[in-house]
Amino acid sequence: MDDNVKKIMHVMRRAPHGSIYTYEGLEMILIMAAYEQDLSVAFIGDGVYALKKNQNTDGISMKGFAKTFMALDGYDVEKLYVDRVSLEERGLTEDDLLVDVELLDSAEIGRRMTEQDVVIHH
């Protein structure tokens, strides 16, 4: 692999809308995607809420951005990992999510984390 291609994992850990971290994290991912790095995105803890279907932010007068996760595929960001435990303890299933993801055990996501050159939590 090219020396200048880095493995960069973005870890979404916050629920959307209560703070801007998920949204500005997504902006960062979109820019980095243009640089043809080896990107992946992991959804852990409240981060899984970012992918919840049927978010409608009209009532809080904020821009919605859930659907932008659906566009990641078009930017060749295809490695989306969701922590199974995080999803389950929130009473959610894959059917509740907007996009196709790999549902993984924590240990497996942990293994993929250690392979990264850079890990950024949002």
Binding site: R14, A15, P16, H17, G18, S19, G45, D46, Y49, K52, K53, N54, Q55, N56, T57, D58, G59, I60, M62, G64, A66, E89, R90, G91
Partner: protein, 97 residues
Amino acid sequence: MLHTINTSPFESPAMEECIRFVQPGDPVLFIENGVYAVQNGNRFSDAIAALQKTSPVYALQPDLDARGISSVDAEVKGIGYDGFVDLVEAHQVNSWL
């Protein structure tokens, strides 16, 4: 006294702390990321059911909608900002940031 909780119970101890101090009869309103607490069938559903035995529980509907939460615990009442105002008109406020 109206208690408001604005953080996810998965991310912050605010709800758990609030419940420990809230007096019987006092209403509790979930707002912002706090509304994840009342999503039906999550890890906190029992805690919400227990709370409801002594306190009316509300959730801000615009915050539920923003997060795609359509199924909430039984008897949790979704209200708008105007309902929030009505609660504030009736009660002093204790915001558990």
